[in-house]
């Protein structure tokens, strides 16, 4: 026996209540739960409600809200979502962290003119704004993917970079280092937007 539309709606409401709104996970979890419940109803002959309670009890263990140092402790998501986001984001985190070690030593700094500094800040601002727009598109999209969660966590870093570069970027080496980091963020914003669009298209 297949589940009725109302019974499936009840499962969807349960997923909404647990924050499973990201399409790349929501549809496969919904499908899995439906099949589990159908198996219990057909195999053991129990009522839908009992099977629903039994199956959702198992899933609750993977839906509790949690956070990770990778994104910052203020960003929480259901565990299964966060685990997937961590797997995607880890390589970017490693690259960002490694790039920090390239920070130039102040004693080998090369002085730059006011005009060049102005150009560098302008370029930094331009790429920061494009990155911000990309991240915001992913974050605000009506159909959410795990990339929407990741994009939400990246916006602060983009906002801070132009401010930091205008204050700290006094020499050529430091400025190049900051620009390199902004390009990394810009690159990741393009990748996230592309992947997000691919997933949304798949689930349309």
């Amino acid at each position: 026996m297949k589940l009725s539309t109302n019974e499936i709606r009840q499962i969807e409401t349960y997923l909404d209540s647990k924050g499973i709104i990201y399409v790349d996970l929501r549809f496969e979890i919904l499908d899995h739960i439906i099949l589990q419940i159908e198996e219990e109803v057909n195999g053991s002959g129990i009522e839908f409600e009992s099977a629903f309670l039994h199956v959702t009890k198992q899933w609750n263990a993977h839906f509790y809200e949690t956070n990770s140092l990778l994104f910052g402790l203020m960003f929480t998501a259901p565990k299964l979502i966060l685990d997937k986001a961590k797997k995607i984001y880890l390589k970017y985190f490693i690259i960002y962290t490694l790039s920090c070690f390239l920070f130039p030593f102040p004693n080998i700094e090369v002085e730059i003119s006011a005009l060049l500094k102005f150009v560098i800040i302008g370029v930094a601002l331009l790429f920061s704004i494009i990155s911000l727009v990309n991240f915001n598109k992913v974050r605000k999209s009506t159909r959410k993917t795990v990339y929407s969660f990741i994009a939400r966590t990246q916006i602060w870093s983009v906002l801070f970079f132009p401010v930091i570069i205008s204050v700290v970027g006094q020499g050529l080496n430091t400025s190049i280092w900051f620009l390199f980091n902004i390009f990394l963020i810009y690159y990741s914003s393009i990748v996230f937007l592309k992947k997000h669009k691919q997933i949304v298209k798949q689930f349309n």
């Binding site: 549809f27 496969e28 979890i29 499908d31 899995h32 263990a61 997937k84």
Partner: protein, 124 residues
């Protein structure tokens, strides 16, 4: 391969969660034999092959699938079934190569375990 895996799962692996380290290999192997599979199907297939001794929980299955997908070993295909969307996983080219590597790695591990668990003594 299944014939080799089943007695091990029936023995110590299932009960002590030792299979966890081999979960990726199990998924890759299943996908190598069946062109594409969805999450629930994988759990049922493993349960059937091991006669219920080993059951992969959703909490272990999906993180493993997502890791393999993020690493580029699996690709996703979405198909409409029973008026809802179903996510099928299939091996990529890299995934096929990884499966061969993982299987030979697992076979070597099983051979080593056999030697350790059941050493053959000889009188010389």
């Amino acid at each position: 391969m299944y014939i080799k895996l089943i007695p091990i799962f029936n023995g110590i692996m299932a009960k002590n969660n030792l299979y966890k380290g081999s979960l990726n290999t199990i998924i890759l192997k299943l996908l190598q034999e069946t062109d594409s599979m969805y999450g629930y199907e994988i759990t049922q297939k493993v349960k059937a092959l091991t006669q219920g001794e080993l059951s992969i929980t959703e909490g272990a299955l999906y993180p493993a699938l997502h890791k393999l997908e993020a690493d580029g070993f699996l690709e996703v295909e979405v198909v409409k079934v029973d008026n809802r969307l179903r996510k099928y996983y299939k091996l990529t080219e890299r995934g096929t190569k990884e499966t061969a590597d993982k299987l030979s790695e697992l076979e070597r591990y099983i051979e080593t375990m056999k030697v350790l668990v059941n050493p053959k003594f000889s009188l010389e």
